[in-house]
């Protein structure tokens, strides 16, 4: 099999751009949330400073092998998700390592980080971490269900499992987007999107006031810095999939930045308007509102 080695440095370039964009984007969204609460919020560069500080902490302790591997798995989940999906359509430089069946791999990577985190946090031995993990896994599993249904629906609609082909089929005007050709699938996926962004109403996993911060309770110093890096990469990587599947992809970086920002804003908007769900409520909510939409979209396709 022929492999183009030049793709590897290009993939790193994509990663570099996305990390920086992710840091600024998460800070910007936090600032928007703060403005809604009539605060000025954190400076836009705060995420960089926090990360340097966490890498610069002098001491760190461990609870075992899995404790080390938790943040590593989490980061590889985010990076893997990003690298196997084309970020810019039609660009050789930024098509990353995408291949024919990458949609299935992407679905797998979405869940990969959560599982790694569950194992790592489990070994930390903190009861809050265990509670957070059990909440997180049950909520994310239910939230993934409508997304998976929507993805199958889209794959059936375009008769392909390649993200590049799906984007190609949506070119030529806004009405060709899946948003308009298969609105039910997009609706199901956008509801599921809320569940995996760790923002209200679905942030009971880290429940800052109730089980202090949940899974990462015991994580600190450079472990935490790794997870912060993933916090920047993962939402963008996930949004890239959404953008490619449902919103026509992007054929240059400005369009990319704009679309990712608008899709991210959807979860921030819902987050500042609605209060937090408990886990049983959120599971029921996903099963009642999002899953039927997904099933319906498959039936109609």
């Amino acid at each position: 099999m022929q492999f183009d080695w030049m793709k590897i440095p290009y993939a790193f370039l994509t990663l570099f751009i996305v990390v920086n964009y992710g840091f600024l984007l998460t800070a910007l969204v936090q600032k928007i949330g703060a403005r809604v609460g009539r605060r000025r919020g954190i400076p836009i560069w705060q995420n960089y400073v926090d990360m340097i500080k966490n890498y610069g902490q002098r001491s760190s302790i461990t609870h075992g092998t899995m404790f080390y591997l938790g943040p590593v798995f989490r980061l590889s989940g985010g990076v893997g998700l990003l690298l196997f999906v084309p970020s810019i359509y039609g660009s050789y430089m930024f098509s990353n390592l995408s291949f024919a069946g990458d949609l299935i791999l992407a679905l797998y990577f979405v869940f990969f980080g959560t599982l790694g985190m569950a194992l790592g946090a489990g070994e930390s031995g903190h009861p809050h971490a265990a509670i957070g993990v059990s909440r997180g896994l049950s909520q994310v599993s239910t939230a993934e269900l409508p997304f998976a249904l929507a993805v199958f629906s889209v794959a059936l609609q375009y008769q392909t499992l390649s993200v590049t082909d799906i984007v190609a089929a949506q070119q030529g005007g806004i009405l060709n987007w899946t948003l308009f050709t298969n609105p039910l699938a997009v609706a199901a996926a956008m509801l599921s999107f809320l569940g995996s962004m760790m923002r209200p109403p679905f942030d009971v996993v880290i429940a800052p006031q109730e089980i202090p911060i949940g899974p990462p309770t015991e994580y600190h110093s450079s472990y935490l810095a790794l997870m912060q890096t993933n916090r920047a990469i993962f939402p963008v990587a996930k949004i890239v999939i959404y953008m490619n599947l449902f919103f026509g992809g992007a054929d240059n970086w400005p369009t990319f930045f704009l679309k990712v920002f608008v899709i991210y804003l959807w979860s921030a908007f819902v987050g500042v308007v609605f209060p937090r769900f408990r886990v049983d409520q959120s599971i029921r909510w996903f099963l009642i509102w999002a899953v039927p939409l997904g099933v319906l979209s498959i039936v109609l396709v």
Partner: protein
């Protein structure tokens, strides 16, 4: 010593008996060591700058001063502007604010929380009670000078200081950290014996290891 902390034999679900000693099994007893910064000065300066601009507070109110910390999160004072954030767990926090009087019972928890924080770490004594006992100067169950039990970087005097005073305190702490003077964790490691002797003098039911991180 509490009963659940005593050494005992436990029978596992598979029938194997084994001995557990909670104080040794659940905690690490290794004493803290002095930790030096990066060898290259400019790197350490950069880290110090980042530490000063990203102060994570352990959200742990010990006394009445805690009520002055809460308004800092609100729109009126909004300490997030200055890179100050609250973390719910000592592992992730850098700054421990002892907010007001500290009873000996709370001191025990404060010591544990402080020792679980990662170096470098800072302590602010908020209010007069942390300096000389304040209005509790003759109380039988509060400590009078916080400095004898934990290495304090900065005091904010007053009874109670306003949230503005806390903000001014953060600015001063930033200057200290940036100048490389926020080495309380190393001071604690150097004078570990002295601090432990002081702590044990007031805490009579000392049922924990000497150093528990």
């Amino acid at each position: 010593m509490k009963e659940e902390l005593l050494k005992r034999m436990v029978k596992g679900p598979d029938g194997v008996e084994f001995e557990i000693e909670p104080l040794r099994d659940y905690y690490c007893e290794a004493a803290p060591t002095v930790m030096h910064g990066a060898y290259i000065k400019i790197v350490e300066d950069m880290f110090n700058w980042a530490r000063s601009e990203s102060i994570w507070i352990l959200g742990f109110g010990t006394g009445c001063g805690a009520i002055e910390m809460r308004p800092l999160m609100t729109p009126r004072f909004d300490a997030y502007r200055y890179g100050v954030q609250w973390r719910p767990t000592p592992r992730q926090a850098n700054l421990f604010i002892i907010s007001g009087y500290l009873s000996t019972k709370t001191l025990k928890r404060a010591i544990r929380a402080y020792e679980q924080m990662q170096s470098p770490k800072y302590v602010i004594g908020l209010g007069s009670c942390t300096i000389n006992g304040g209005m509790y100067w003759d109380s039988y169950n509060t400590i009078k000078r916080l400095d004898e039990y934990l290495p304090v970087d900065l005091y904010i005097a007053g009874c109670m200081p306003r949230p503005e005073a806390l903000l001014a305190g953060f600015v001063d702490l930033k200057k200290l950290i940036r100048a490389g003077k926020g080495e309380g964790a190393n001071l604690y490691a150097e004078k570990f014996e002295w601090y432990k002797a002081n702590q044990k003098r007031v805490i009579h039911d000392w049922d924990m290891p000497d150093y528990n991180w």
